[in-house]
């Protein structure tokens, strides 16, 4: 009975810590959400109060949805993020597989070279990138952003994934080779499913910076039709007046897709851990 009690109190302690952490982490999100439903005056008078009958308003969301082509921005951001993640994961995993699986001259050097990008911020090359995009006629296209974000995400992806690649059982790949599978089938059917947890980690690492980025959309794709959500929201932040209702509403909306993607990836994380097929 005693040990049951200590187990219970330990459980309570653990949960208390975790819940405190969750509250702290979610607090800014909570503040954004409640204030997005309040009038401008109420936001400044009592920033932490819940919206009540007096202060409640849809105004922010109305402004956001009416002004500009918000749905379009949304779609742009979503396309850019998802396609960039797809390429980062695909090419990252392929490079990692090659580095881990095949012994060739300069294997180590190649691995180091690919990892170098982790230490050099891609923004240093902005001018050159812009120049390149102008020359290739990619300015003001989503493709420009996708290419840049893929390049930005690859070094870390290759680095993390090759670490995990080395843990994938050689026997499994060899069994595939003996059964006559080609290297692509071995990679896509046997190895990739085992890499899910690592890929989910990489995806989560890359998703938020891409979704939130203002720099490259502003420089490479400022045109109305290709604006991302973050860039689109800037119209509400003026030099003299800022439409806080609208900014908060835009931010509130921007959270939704991130949560959806995150939920998807985290489910992969858990499934990957529990699948354990070899041994």
């Amino acid at each position: 009975m005693n040990s049951a009690r200590t187990a219970l109190s330990r459980k309570i302690a653990v949960h208390a810590v975790l819940i405190t952490y969750v509250v702290i982490a979610l607090f800014p999100v909570f503040v954004i959400l409640i204030n997005s439903f309040k009038t401008r005056r109420a936001i400044f008078r009592e920033p932490l109060a819940l919206p009540n009958a007096d202060s409640f308003t849809w105004e922010g969301y109305q402004t956001v949805l009416n002004q500009g082509d918000f749905l379009q921005y949304f779609q742009n951001s979503f396309v850019v993020t998802v396609v960039s993640l797809f390429f980062i994961l695909l090419f990252g995993a392929m490079a990692a597989f090659a580095l881990a699986e095949y012994r060739f001259k300069g294997n180590t050097v190649m691995g180091l070279y690919l990892a170098l990008g982790i230490m050099i911020p891609i923004r240093i090359g902005t001018v050159a990138i812009l120049d390149l995009m102008v020359q290739t006629g990619l300015v003001n296209t989503l493709m420009a952003l996708i290419l840049v974000y893929t390049a930005q995400g690859l070094p870390l992806a290759v680095f993390i994934l090759s670490e995990f690649m080395q843990q994938v059982s050689d026997d499994l790949k060899n069994a595939g080779r003996i059964d006559g599978l080609n290297e692509y089938t071995i990679f896509f059917k046997l190895v990739l499913p085992l890499m899910r947890p690592a890929m989910a980690t990489v995806a989560v690492f890359n998703m938020i910076p891409i979704w939130n980025d203002l720099w490259f959309p502003l420089i490479l794709a400022p045109a109305e039709s290709v604006k991302t959500l973050t860039l689109g929201s800037q119209v509400f932040i003026g030099q003299y007046v800022t439409n806080w209702n609208a900014v908060l509403a835009a931010l509130g909306l921007a959270i939704i897709p991130v949560i959806i993607l995150y939920t998807l990836f985290s489910r992969q994380l858990i499934r990957g851990i529990t699948s354990g097929a070899v041994k």
């Binding site: 059982s169 026997d171 499994l172 060899n174 069994a175 595939g176 080779r177 003996i178 059964d179 006559g180 599978l181 059917k189 046997l190 499913p193 085992l194 699948s275 354990g276 097929a277 070899v278 041994k279």
Partner: protein, 324 residues
């Protein structure tokens, strides 16, 4: 006909020579076991035969064909791995049938062969399950089934039993022996367990540091080891080696008897296994020696005894470990 001929096979990883001039012939239908300590190159040799690694030098011939340049899937081999290596996304039937499917075997033929193999291995009721829903022993049987359905000219086993517990290991060992009888196929089996080697093999190949130390039938190697390494490697408990001037005298634990006179020794430990009793002693020259008694023996720790043996059963090895 011969199932496999290795001619001067060498394998290096960079500077490291892992296999050195391996020459070996496996006759049709023969069960050949590679034994040797960890890291001696058994798996590497098996992988060279399978085509998963290229030999640095030398030729590999399977059946009538030189296979150095032929990919693993086309060599007419099948391999069973230590870690089972089942495809996690396929059912048991899918796992067993994949190799045939890749060879574009007709569907009904695949179903027939998978069914046959499943019956042989008592897996029929598990055909629709995923590997993750099977026990370790069942997984290993699926891995064996995957090899059987391909009807290979040569089976390759890489320590297939080392992940199983003792009881299951014995059952599966017998199952593999039965399989060999039924299929009459040529098999190469890698292990570092000398019991498996002795019980399964028609021919044992003892490897050390990438070199073949001795090749022969189990009892031939046991009764007539070419050197000290082979003598010490086969047999459990292993052979005793006593200093004898420059040389070394080898005598197996079961060949030693207690006597009134002879080498005097003191018992330091006794292992009672029921069917046999193993005593570990220290001789008057401070050398450890193991004695094996059949049945139950009342020898006790601390007891002072005298040991003798028939000189016909002893082996002499020189300082380099060679038999003299």
């Amino acid at each position: 006909m011969t199932a496999l001929i290795l001619d001067n096979v060498c394998k290096s990883f960079g500077e490291v020579e892992v296999l050195k001039n391996i020459n070996l012939t496996v006759e049709d239908g023969e069960f050949v076991v590679f034994v040797g300590p960890s890291g001696c190159g058994k798996s590497t040799l098996l992988r060279v035969i399978a085509g998963l690694e290229d030999a640095t030098k030398g030729t590999v011939q399977i059946g009538e064909r030189m296979v150095n340049a032929i990919p693993p899937a086309k060599r007419g081999i099948a391999m069973v791995f230590q870690s089972y290596a089942l495809y996690p996304h396929l059912s048991v039937a899918g796992n067993m049938g994949l190799g045939l499917k890749q060879e574009k075997t007709p569907k009904d033929e695949i179903i027939k062969r998978v069914g046959e193999a499943a019956r042989m291995l008592s897996l029929t009721e598990y055909l629709d399950r995923r590997p993750s829903e099977l026990s370790g022993g069942q997984r290993q049987r699926v891995a064996i089934g995957r090899a059987i359905v391909r009807k290979p000219d040569l089976f390759l086993f890489d320590e297939p039993l080392s992940n199983l517990d003792a009881a299951l290991r014995m059952n599966t060992r017998i199952e593999i022996a039965n399989l060999h009888r039924q299929l009459a196929a040529s098999m190469i089996y890698v292990t570092h367990d000398q019991t498996e080697a002795m019980t399964l093999a028609d021919k044992i190949v003892v490897l050390r540091d990438g070199q073949v130390e001795q090749v022969g039938a189990p009892m031939e190697l046991y009764n007539n080891p070419a050197n000290q390494f082979v003598a010490g490697f086969l047999g459990a408990p292993s052979m005793n080696f006593l200093r004898h001037g420059e040389n070394s005298l080898g005598i197996r634990p079961e060949h030693i008897q207690l006597a009134e006179t002879g080498l005097s020794a003191r018992v330091t430990h006794v292992e009672r296994l029921g069917g046999e009793t193993n005593a570990i002693l220290v001789t008057e020259h401070d050398e450890p020696i193991t004695v094996r008694f059949f049945g139950q023996h009342n020898i006790a720790v601390g007891e002072a005894v005298h040991l003798t043996w028939d000189a016909a059963n002893q082996f002499m090895f020189n300082a380099a470990g060679e038999r003299i």
